[in-house]
């Protein structure tokens, strides 16, 4: 719009029209103002710099605060990571073993991926290969909208449908590891499916046509040609889903049962890094040992998130090379 105004005005001005914008004072000076250029550039560079600052600050602050429990409170790093006893408020000899939470987090993540992957990849193949027309027109938009449904809503659903179901059929309270995994698995379904569908669509059509031309069936084409061709980006979709599952806090907290012990089976209540932080952080005072330990758990959360990021980057790079 503004572009039109400028160009048309400039044009008519050059043609001797009645809007001599070009004769206006400082017209060219304004367009070619070096100082405005450097001001704009400064603004842009500051914003870009802010991104670096944010990431550095998050990493730095969490690392410093997370290391306090080892440096200031002299906890042993090894017993902290491998210990299974979490009794922070025991009067004599409190013990801080974070292994149940690390295990819980990883268990929920992998179980959720196990539940979500087949359904999500199946749906993605359906959308991108079998029913392309209403796959792209209807299912894809609906799934993308579902990506935006807040996680607490998934937690609420788990609380009011999945947990009572588990209670009825498997006994116990219904709040256990597998309930948490189901809730998170359903939560990451739309994410994984929509990224996977995109990556399947990115496979060039010539590959499919070549496969059909030598007499392959639809399934043979999908299994032998399309899936291998989109391989690493399909795995990227799953890893992104897993990293979302790993970082989820409130939805898991609502259904997992929040036990401090190592779960013996998937039907036992458990806890994850995120749930223990969510639950305990508000009740501690800054500087207490428990508070420091919670920050250490946060640091572990951050480090494992970085591992996911590195994996995704590695996969993306491998996809580029091929």
């Amino acid at each position: 719009m503004i572009k039109n105004r400028i160009t048309s005005n400039a044009g008519s001005a050059l043609g001797g029209g009645r809007s001599p914008l070009i004769n206006e004072k400082n017209f060219f000076a304004r367009l070619t103002d070096r100082r405005s250029e450097s001001r704009g550039k400064a603004l842009i560079y500051c914003s870009a710099l802010l991104m670096i600052i944010a990431v550095t600050a998050i990493t730095l602050f969490l690392t410093l605060q997370g290391l306090r429990s080892f440096v200031v409170d002299h906890l042993n790093l090894w017993t902290f990571i491998t210990g299974t006893e979490w009794y922070p408020d025991r009067a004599n000899n409190p013990s801080f073993g974070a292994f149940p939470f690390i295990f819980g987090s990883l268990a929920v993540t992998f179980l959720a991926a196990l539940i979500a992957t087949p359904i999500a990849i199946g749906t993605a193949i359906f959308m991108a290969e079998i029913a392309q027309k209403w796959g792209t027109k209807i299912m894809q938009p609906v799934i993308e909208i579902l990506v935006g449904i807040p996680s607490v809503v998934y937690g609420l659903i788990g609380l009011s449908i999945v947990a009572p179901f588990m209670r009825q059929h498997f006994g116990g309270s219904g709040f256990n590891l597998i309930t948490g995994a189901i809730v998170v698995g359903v939560m990451i379904l739309p994410t994984v499916a929509s990224i996977a569908a995109d990556s399947i669509r990115a496979v060039p059509d010539s590959l499919r046509q070549a496969s059909y031309a030598i007499g392959a069936t639809k399934w043979q084409t999908i299994w032998r040609v399309v899936i291998p061709a989109s391989g690493s980006s399909l795995i990227t979709a799953i890893v992104l889903g897993m990293s979302r599952a790993f970082g989820e806090a409130l939805a898991v907290q609502m259904v997992i049962g929040n036990a401090r012990n190592l779960p013996g089976s998937i039907l036992d209540p458990a806890a994850t890094l995120t749930t223990i932080i969510t639950l305990s952080m508000g009740h501690t005072t800054t500087g207490s040992v428990l508070n420091d330990v919670l920050w250490s758990l946060g640091l572990i959360l951050l480090l494992i998130s970085y591992v996911f990021i590195v994996i995704v980057r590695y996969l993306a790079k491998r996809g580029e090379v091929r």
Binding site: G40, I44, I119, P150, F308
Partner: protein, 294 residues
């Protein structure tokens, strides 16, 4: 087994997967809306929450959600758009650019609770903002920035090259070209992305838990002086948002009608997010039609 039979079986399994997916998601959405809509009433939307008695509403929480969203957007959009412009226009391929890209990626994939903890450390404790609207909005800014950056960069990259070249050919500076030609042209797609990200911010809870707090002071909706402690506009009061409310009611609520409140709040939340999404899509479609001249 011959390949035709395998083909049949495998394809049916895939269709089954898709059907299962559709069934799960539709029944979930249906459950929330059907269950929740029965508990939404004008009274529910316009009464304050009551901690012990039945019949509490979500007026304050709803207001807080929108207010935090507004402040977040106020902070995120300028910074994010500038960051996106940098990556699309000024960044030269090299170590610094790829480092900034990595940073955007890292920010986008950090768990929201980590962002919340960072916000607690820096904004709540170090800057001394306490649990407040401002702390929450700042934490959400960190959380939302990468989305806006990406949207802006994509919007700029999708523009035809000749628009920029035309501007530069007139002898305009790069910045002036961006300001007067490229930004207005890319604005529609950026706006669509902003609205979509607003839906995400609106439903975010874990990052707000330690930054905006779990309580709301008694708000006086007639006092619009932003400095008064009971004013809805006060930036330095704690503010429980709708999604945090759903969580806190379910984990620690002692009012007898927890289910009704939770279901109603969830329905309101979902409806708001759906409206954001549909609005963004409609806007995108209309603008696309206008530009492609169909």
């Amino acid at each position: 087994m011959n390949s035709k039979v395998t083909n049949r079986i495998a394809l049916s399994v895939i269709v089954l997967c898709a059907a299962a997916m559709a069934a799960v998601l539709i029944s979930m959405l249906g459950y929330i809306l059907v269950k929740g809509l029965s508990s939404i009433s004008w009274h529910f939307l316009t009464t304050s929450a009551s901690p012990f008695m039945p019949g509490g509403g979500i007026k304050d929480q709803l207001w807080n959600s929108f207010y935090v969203l507004f402040i977040t957007m106020l902070l995120t959009v300028p910074i994010g758009v500038c960051g996106g412009i940098y990556l699309a226009e000024y960044a030269k391929p090299g170590k610094i650019t790829s480092f900034i890209r990595t940073c955007v990626e890292v920010l986008a994939s950090l768990p929201s609770i980590v962002v919340g903890m960072f916000g607690m450390l820096l904004f709540v404790n170090y800057f001394g903002f306490k649990y407040s609207v401002l702390s929450g909005a700042l934490a959400l800014t960190v959380f939302n920035l990468p989305v806006i950056v990406r949207v802006t960069e994509d919007g700029f990259r999708a523009l035809p090259r000749h628009q920029k070249e035309g501007g530069l050919a007139l002898g305009m500076t790069h910045w002036h070209t961006i300001k007067t030609i490229l930004l207005p042209a890319a604005f529609p797609s950026i706006l669509t992305g902003i609205i979509l990200s607003a839906g995400r911010v609106f439903g975010e809870s874990a990052a707000l838990l330690f930054t905006a707090g779990l309580s709301t002071p008694d708000l006086n909706f007639e006092n619009w002086n932003p400095l008064a402690p009971d004013s809805p506009l006060n930036l330095f009061r704690s503010a429980e948002t709708l999604s945090v409310h759903i969580w806190s009611v379910n984990t620690g609520g002692i009012m007898p009608d927890v289910d009704t409140i939770a279901n109603g709040s969830a329905a309101v939340l979902v409806i708001c997010v759906l409206i954001f999404n549909l609005f963004a899509r409609m806007l995108g479609k209309i603008i696309n039609q206008k530009f492609s001249g169909k």
